[in-house]
């Protein structure tokens, strides 16, 4: 991002940037950065808090008056992720005793996913490989992957398996937003998905199986966040 700031300033555009990794912002000598020690993925700090977000922007825009570049100021507030404290979301009861528990669980979460979809005016990150209707089959393919460590057997290649992992995460996290009935702190729903759901367990097992089978690191490592592996 600092590289772009430099290019834009050279082209006659004033820039202000929000930084999430302070040392990077410092090292690249970007013209005007406001460092925000906020969760990665939330550079304006608090979802749903317009006043807080506007305050962040005002502090950033105030740096435009500075000519003593490079300028790197710090937002006074620190917000940390809460990955160690999983969100509490009630999981659905078994619907189909003949289905794999993870597949059954995903089906049971569909009403919650649909509620969030409506609340977000149709905006969803599900759909990279399959839409919501295909999630059950995708879970089944990850079960195959966890059991076989064979991308071909599960119908994936190196690119689609990573995108499929993001579909599963998005489906569960978006359903979790509806179940939690508020926006949990950063990474709380992530930990709920990977550590407290059957499908999260399957994704972790698939990544571990690929690693154990000697599959290229870039395939298994990016299936889920690094802190959720193992």
């Amino acid at each position: 991002m600092g590289v772009l700031a430099r290019v834009f300033e050279s082209a006659g555009l004033g820039t202000v940037g929000l930084s999430l990794v302070r040392r990077q912002a410092k090292n690249i000598k970007a013209p005007r950065f406001l460092h925000c020690e906020f969760p990665l993925g939330r550079p304006l700090g608090r979802p749903g808090d317009a006043a807080f977000q506007t305050d962040v922007l005002r502090r950033a825009f105030a740096l435009l008056d500075r000519s003593d570049v490079p300028v790197l100021e710090d937002h006074p507030e620190v917000i940390e992720d809460e990955a160690d404290d999983a969100a509490t979301c009630t999981l659905p009861p078994r619907l189909d005793p003949n289905a794999h528990p993870a597949v059954d669980e995903a089906a049971g979460l569909r009403p919650a996913y649909n509620r969030q979809l409506a609340a977000a005016d149709g905006r969803t990150a599900v759909g990279r490989v399959v839409g919501a209707d295909g999630i059950g089959d995708l879970v089944r393919r990850f079960v195959t992957l966890a059991e076989s460590a064979d991308l071909d057997a599960a119908g994936f290649d190196a690119d689609t398996v990573r995108a499929a992992g993001q579909d599963l995460r998005a489906y569960y996290e978006e359903a979790g937003l509806a179940l939690a009935d508020h926006v949990p702190a950063a990474r709380q729903l992530e930990t709920w998905f990977y550590r407290h759901t059957r499908t999260g367990e399957v994704v972790r097992a698939a990544s571990a199986a690929l690693e154990a089978a000697g599959v290229d690191r870039n395939v298994w490592y990016y299936l889920l966040p690094g802190n959720q592996q193992g």
Partner: protein, 163 residues
């Protein structure tokens, strides 16, 4: 390269571990910092350029590592998605409120109140967390092309947001 979990020990948050790991990744060395004097904010046209790997119009295809290009986000498009290849950051804040990464509503409010002059008709997204070769692409190719597009739209000030 490191294996899974090696940097996620006790005593450090998940984000703290990542910051610790990526804080000093090599970046191009610069001896000076360019600076432009922008018009007063109340008269400036503002665009968002994010490195979140956003895509618009329901396109959710993942951005690929080493892709230094950018995508254009129409100013009225709200169906934008985080299509960053990395799983290593929170996604739920953006799922709940796009403004936490891409503050369209906040800029509209600031324009309505006169704090900023106007909001650009188009915004741009690159994908950050990139590798060395992509720095060159952004410095010499896609970055200047993005700057031209923004200047053609009458933009004075760029707000850069990461994930």
């Amino acid at each position: 390269m490191t294996g899974a979990g090696e940097h996620y020990g006790a005593g450090m948050s998940a984000d703290g571990s990542i910051r610790d790991r990526v804080g000093d990744i090599p970046v191009p060395e610069f001896t000076s910092t360019p600076a432009t004097t922008a018009p007063p904010l109340s008269q400036a046209r503002v665009a968002i350029v994010t490195t979140a790997g956003l895509r618009a119009s329901g396109d959710v295809q993942l951005w690929q590592p080493t892709d230094g290009s950018f995508t254009v986000l129409p100013g009225d498009a709200r169906d934008v998605q985080l299509s960053h290849f990395s799983p290593n950051f929170d996604r739920t804040g953006f799922a709940a409120d796009l403004n936490v990464v891409y503050p369209l509503d906040r800029l509209a409010e600031m324009a309505a109140s006169g704090e900023i002059g106007s909001v650009a008709p188009r915004h741009l997204s690159f994908m950050g967390a990139q590798f060395d070769a992509t720095f060159s692409t952004m410095l010499l190719d896609s970055g200047p092309a993005a700057a031209k597009l923004l200047r053609d739209d009458g933009v004075d000030v760029v707000l850069l947001t990461p994930v």
